[in-house]
């Protein structure tokens, strides 16, 4: 927790790690955000064109959602690892 306030002590190494962690996870979130938007957008289009397929598409939609969303967490884990180990 104290690394949160590293800038106040002048501990630049910790500050750099904190910034890197934040930027890394943020960039990961950008990618997943685009992906998730794509999935739900396509789902809306598909259901609008063929409403009778909704039941079959729902399962696929959630699978795609979870697979895409997991990308953020790979970024988060990678960030945490770098934060702790470096």
């Amino acid at each position: 927790m104290t690394t949160l306030f590293a800038a106040l002590d002048g501990n630049v190494a910790d500050l750099g790690k904190a910034i890197a962690f934040g930027v890394g996870v943020g960039l990961g979130a950008v990618g997943a955000g685009i992906g998730i938007g794509n999935i739900f957008g396509s789902m809306i289009q598909a259901v609008a064109r063929q409403p009778e397929l909704r039941g079959e598409l729902t399962g696929i939609q959630w699978l795609g959602f979870a697979l895409t969303e997991a990308v953020v967490f790979y970024a988060l884990l990678g960030g945490l690892l770098a934060y702790v180990l470096v």
Binding site: M1, T2, L4, F5, G59, A70, F73, Y74
Partner: protein, 277 residues
């Protein structure tokens, strides 16, 4: 407020303690640490709730005019049968693997849900009228890599055992390589396919683990901000955000992650039994 005060408050507040697992009953089998700790107790609670849910929903008082309890059970069954098992497991293996996939879904779902119910299972104590009581807190067993890796390993082993049993070892391992690959490329493709099999193990376990961990960490950090800045003004923003995250987790993430874990298990096992789909 001076910065020294903030720092002192931050030293006092150690949110990472939520994820520490001190052994309550140390059990060591040679080099293997089988100690009973918080995560193990949460696993027991999850297993008990899952068993009693199954018995309570489906084991008595079934009738042609279903009660609400029976309707719940039937819709759960339909969800697992229709969305997870039917399209992905081949019909010759559905009788054998439907129970596994269904219990996987229910067990992970209950474990995730129990993780969001405050329970007095903790090694930290507080005093009330002279009585020492464990503090109430939320902790998810699935926010622990060992638990999810264990579940993913069962699927991983089942996949390959079933693949070899139904197809024979040679035909099964040949099916890993996509058809029509030119010979010179084999040296490149084969290692990639082998790695991708192991990547499944990692992605399956890390997805569930990181999702639950991130959800708990977000709530924790939001509440923790109040203590770090030791100011109630922060609470005006922090508590609504924490509540919103909590609702999002309980309403959506908990079910989706259990669903996806079971669905991917069904896809992997089904794909190994019938490689050419």
């Amino acid at each position: 407020m001076s910065f020294a005060l903030i720092l002192a408050a931050a030293e006092d507040f150690q949110p990472q303690h939520e994820f520490e697992l001190p052994a309550w009953v140390p059990i060591h089998l040679g080099p293997i640490d089988m100690s009973i700790n918080k995560a193990v107790v949460y696993l027991w609670v999850g297993a008990l709730v899952t068993i009693f849910l199954g018995i309570w929903i489906m084991r008595f008082g079934l009738s042609l005019r279903p009660s609400r309890r029976q309707t719940t059970g039937e819709s759960l069954y339909e969800l697992i049968q229709g969305q997870i098992a039917e399209g992905n497991l081949p019909s010759k293996a559905i009788g054998r693997w439907f129970p596994y996939v269904a219990s996987l879904f229910l067990f992970i779902w209950i474990l995730n849900l129990v993780g969001f119910v405050p329970l007095p299972i903790s090694s930290e104590k507080f005093e009330l009228f002279g009585l020492e009581l464990p503090t109430w807190g939320i902790y998810a067993a699935t926010a622990n890599l060992s638990v999810t890796l264990g579940l993913a390993l069962i699927t991983f082993i089942a996949t390959h055992v079933e693949g070899i049993r139904y197809n024979g070892a040679v035909r099964y391992f040949k099916s890993w390589i996509p058809a029509g690959v030119p010979k010179p490329l084999l040296g490149l493709i084969v290692p990639l396919e082998v790695i991708s099999q192991f990547m499944r193990l990692i992605s399956l376990s890390v997805r569930l683990f990181a999702n639950m961990l991130a959800g708990h960490m977000l709530i924790l950090v939001m509440i923790g901000l109040i203590f770090i800045f030791s100011s109630y003004a922060i609470a005006v923003i922090a508590i609504p955000v924490a509540v919103a995250v909590y609702i999002f987790e309980v309403a959506i993430v908990v079910t989706i992650q259990a669903f996806v874990f079971a669905l991917l298990s069904a896809i992997y096992i089904g794909g190994a039994i019938e490689p050419e789909h």
